[in-house]
């Protein structure tokens, strides 16, 4: 086993388990070294023994600090030197030195006997201390603990040859030390001799005495924190570093892990928060939209409800009003009511009422007058049917009239540059009779026999304007003519004139430009209304008017339109 390891284990057994035997072994292994060192310094056996006792007592107290890599001989050597120096400084040491000066010759060889190395002895420990620890330990083990080169090599973690070389090198180094201090004759041999001749062999009794004194002052076995420290101290530097690194790495790692986890958590939370913010933002927008829609719908529902309630109230009010209106009109004791909109008329007076009324019941192009509708009690459908029959009748009548229109020209005179006369020929009595018979049959079919006398009474009464209640036209019997012409005024501008003959004779003139097509910039207003009031009043055939207007439009285009521009 490695000697250094052996020392460490012995100290471990002593510090951990309080094995005094282990400590005694340590004293036994190294007392020679300590005692020899002390002897060189204090040069007194008793003092050296006291120094040795103090050194081992210190070792007993500080044994827990030792690590496997620490060199116990090196530490003991240094401790012995320090303790010896301390002793020498004390008064007791000084007196003791004086008293025992004469006794030195009994333990050390005289300078006369060994003059070559004797001078080196006082500087020997200083020389040893100047060496590096491994070199010093090598010499201490080789010379003061009498170990073989193999054992020295094991203690230093090397082989025998390496130990030899190291011992030799260390000897050379201290030789050089001596030479630097003025010992020109110093040599390796002298240094070796100084080392060999300063060794001592202590007895077992001294070992036991020193160990006993040291153990007496040594602390008990270490426990708790001390044990931990001792355990720590017992580790090598690498182990200590590893343990400490491990001890610190765990919490630091744990904290780093916690930091990393917290950082990841922060990042995750930030992302979550951002996502939540986005979601909240989207949700807020959606909420605003839904709120607005809800408000709008609420308002709509309120309005609809209010409108429905209003409509219901209105409908009820209307129903009540109708009831109030109907009741007196349908009552057996009917009386005129100024507040009513309606009057009740016995059907018995209706024929006379219809006959003596002024307005005509029907008018072109097929309208049942409102008074006639009420007097005949027509429903909406009946009125529609009658008006359809009338419209068909008046359209057929107009067609017949249009077919009978004859166009002629008159010789030009004065400023007239073009003229055209449209003659409406009297309709054939036969065809007129057919038309009239057809419409009367249709109207009679709608009205029924009970109401037919009301119309019949009116149709038998010939008065009013043409194309009136007799459903034929005065024009169909008398004929009608419409003459239109174009003349130039003083400025040379073409104008138009017209003359209406027949039952209603009239005439006039106007601008020809009013007959220009729509969109023409020169077009003036009035063309659309030309003689239209006569048509609406039944004084002029629409077919006759349309033919005349068409001729005037042609003239307007020829004389005023774009084609005539240079």
């Amino acid at each position: 086993m490695n000697e250094r390891r052996r020392d460490f284990e012995l100290l471990q057994r002593f510090t951990r388990h309080g094995e005094q035997a282990a400590f005694t072994d340590v004293v036994r292994r190294h007392l020679d070294l300590v005692f020899a060192t002390a002897m060189r310094k204090v040069e007194d056996t008793g003092a050296a023994q006291e120094v040795a006792q103090n050194v081992f007592a210190a070792l007993a107290r500080k044994a827990w600090r030792f690590a496997p890599d620490d060199s116990l001989p090196a530490w003991l050597h240094k401790a012995a030197l320090l303790e010896s120096t301390s002793w020498l400084r004390s008064e007791l040491g000084r007196r003791r030195r004086e008293e025992t000066a004469s006794e030195l010759g009994t333990t050390m060889k005289t300078p006369e006997d060994q003059p070559a190395f004797h001078a080196l002895v006082p500087l020997l420990d200083e020389a040893l201390l100047s060496l590096r620890e491994k070199d010093r330990v090598a010499l201490l083990l080789r010379f003061y603990e009498s170990q073989s080169l193999r054992e020295v090599g094991e203690a230093l973690g090397a082989g025998e040859d390496a130990a030899r070389k190291r011992v030799q090198g260390a000897l050379e180094k201290i030789t050089e030390f001596f030479k630097r201090r003025g010992f020109k004759t110093a040599s390796v041999a002298a240094a070796t001799a100084a080392l060999q001749h300063t060794t001592v062999a202590t007895s077992t009794a001294m070992v036991n005495a020193v160990a006993g004194v040291a153990l007496a002052v040594a602390p008990p076995a270490l426990v708790g924190l001390s044990a931990l420290l001792a355990r720590l101290a017992s580790l090598s530097k690498v182990q200590t570093a590893a343990v400490c690194v491990a001890l610190t790495a765990v919490p630091v790692g744990w904290q780093l892990n916690a930091r990393q986890a917290a950082g990841a958590e922060v990042k995750r939370l930030q992302e979550q928060r951002l996502a939540t913010q986005n979601e909240a933002s989207t949700l807020r927008a959606e909420l605003d939209r839904v709120r607005a829609e809800a408000a709008r719908l609420k308002q709509s529902v309120a309005q609809a409800t209010e409108a429905a309630a209003r409509a219901a109230a209105s409908a009820q009010a209307f129903a009540d009003w109708k009831q109030r209106v109907r009741a007196p009109l349908l009552a057996a004791d009917y009386r005129w009511d100024d507040n009513s909109l309606f009057v009740r008329i016995p059907k018995s007076v209706l024929p006379e009422l219809c006959e003596r009324s002024n307005p005509d019941p029907f008018s072109p192009p097929g309208v049942v007058e409102s008074y006639a509708r009420e007097l005949m009690g027509l429903t909406y459908a009946e009125r529609q049917a009658v008006e359809t029959a009338l419209q068909r009748h008046f359209a057929s009548l107009e067609e017949q009239l249009a077919a009978g229109i004859r166009e002629t020209n008159k010789p030009l005179s004065g400023r007239i540059v073009a003229n055209r006369k449209f003659d409406l020929q009297p309709a054939m009595k036969g065809s007129l009779s057919n038309l009239l018979g057809l419409v009367l049959t249709n109207v009679r079919g709608v009205l029924g026999e009970e109401r037919w006398p009301l119309v019949k009474a009116r149709l038998g009464k010939r008065r009013g304007p043409v194309m009136s209640g007799d459903l034929s036209s005065g024009l169909t019997e008398t004929g009608q003519s419409l003459e239109v012409w174009v003349e130039t005024n003083d400025g040379g501008t073409p104008t138009m004139g017209y003359g209406l003959g027949g039952a209603v004779a009239t005439g006039g003139s106007g601008a020809l430009s009013m007959f220009l097509p729509e969109g023409d910039p020169k077009r003036t207003t009035g063309g659309d209304e030309f003689l239209s009031s006569f048509v609406q009043g039944g004084f002029l055939s629409n077919a006759l008017r349309q033919r005349a207007v068409a001729w005037l439009q042609e003239q307007a285009i020829v004389r005023l339109g774009e084609k005539e521009k240079p």
Binding site: C244, A317, F318, W336, E374, Y380
Partner: protein, 300 residues
């Protein structure tokens, strides 16, 4: 000893590192805690907002359903027109709709029909039989006059006629004979008299029939009757009759700007105020002036 220092150094460095990392970790943890609390608060807000959104969405659905179930309101234009306008001024098509609503048509009754007063107004029917000086049966029926109302109406007519006759007798002017003019009668235009008598007559009508029927009977029928009677001056020509005796002894009558015509029995006497003075026409004039009316020529 070196081990202890090494241990202290490493442990010190480790402690420093530990404290640094612990501080950093604590800072991160505090930040994380703050973020977590903020996130939780936000999450709660989002949850609250989602809950509100769900409630609102449900509310919107209910409102839509309610709105869909609310019966469509059709504006009754007719009822609105009846309320906002004067009901007696409804357009013809609205009146037709109203008649339909009320169910007034030919089949509503076998004995009568119901018509609007606007129709009565439009008919402009003659309600006075001028020759008999009374209301027509049709007018009596249409206006639903009671016998008492009819009596009052005819009494008002009679009173107007008498008042005018009294005025006419007092104001008729006679000239002649002069040259070939045998006699000339004329009545002056008196706006005060016209206004007074017509007002009195209309007031009597209103008292008898009420304002509405008074207006319906007054215009145009009673108005025309007063024109023909002479109470109202409705013609630009003066109410004058003139009788000339020609050299051959024949009598010529003229009035109103018309060319003279032979005066014989049965010759037409002008309408107007002088008829109140001479109810029997030329016969009364001849009797009063002492000449005889020649017989009417025989028709060929």
């Amino acid at each position: 000893m070196n081990n202890i220092l090494l241990a202290f150094a490493i442990l010190g460095a480790g402690a420093g590192g530990f404290l640094t990392t612990r501080q950093s970790a604590s800072q991160f943890q505090r930040e994380a805690q703050g973020l977590r609390e903020a996130w939780l608060a936000q999450t709660q807000q989002v949850a609250a907002a989602q809950s509100e959104q769900a409630n609102l969405t449900e509310r919107v659905r209910e409102l839509k359903q309610t709105l869909a179930q609310t019966p469509g309101v059709v504006e009754n234009a007719l009822w609105s027109a009846l309320q906002t306008n004067r009901a007696n001024q409804l357009a013809p098509e609205m009146r037709e709709r109203l008649m339909e609503e009320l169910g007034f048509n030919w089949k509503a009754s076998t004995d009568y029909i119901v018509v609007s007063k606007e129709t009565i107004r439009r008919l402009q029917m003659d309600i006075i039989n001028e020759w008999k000086g009374e209301l027509t049966k049709t007018a009596t029926t249409v206006f639903a006059l009671t016998p008492e109302e009819r009596s009052q109406f005819e009494a008002a007519m009679q009173r107007a006629r008498m008042d005018f006759k009294e005025w006419a007798l007092a104001h008729v002017e006679r000239t002649g004979p002069k040259d070939d003019v045998l006699v000339k009668y004329s009545l002056p235009t008196d706006r005060v008299m016209s206004q007074t008598l017509s007002n009195n007559f209309f007031t009597a009508l209103v008292a008898a029939l009420g304002l509405e029927r008074a207006q319906l009977t007054m215009f145009p029928s009673a108005y025309n009757w007063m024109c023909q009677l002479g109470i109202l001056d409705c013609t630009p020509l003066p109410a004058t009759i003139l009788v000339r005796r020609q050299v051959d002894g024949r009598l010529k009558a003229s009035w109103g700007g018309f060319p003279p015509s032979d005066l014989t029995k049965g010759a037409s006497f002008p309408r107007g105020g002088l008829r109140s003075v001479f109810p029997n026409g030329w016969a009364d004039v001849a009797e009063r002036e002492g000449f005889e009316l020649p017989p009417a020529p025989k028709k060929k």
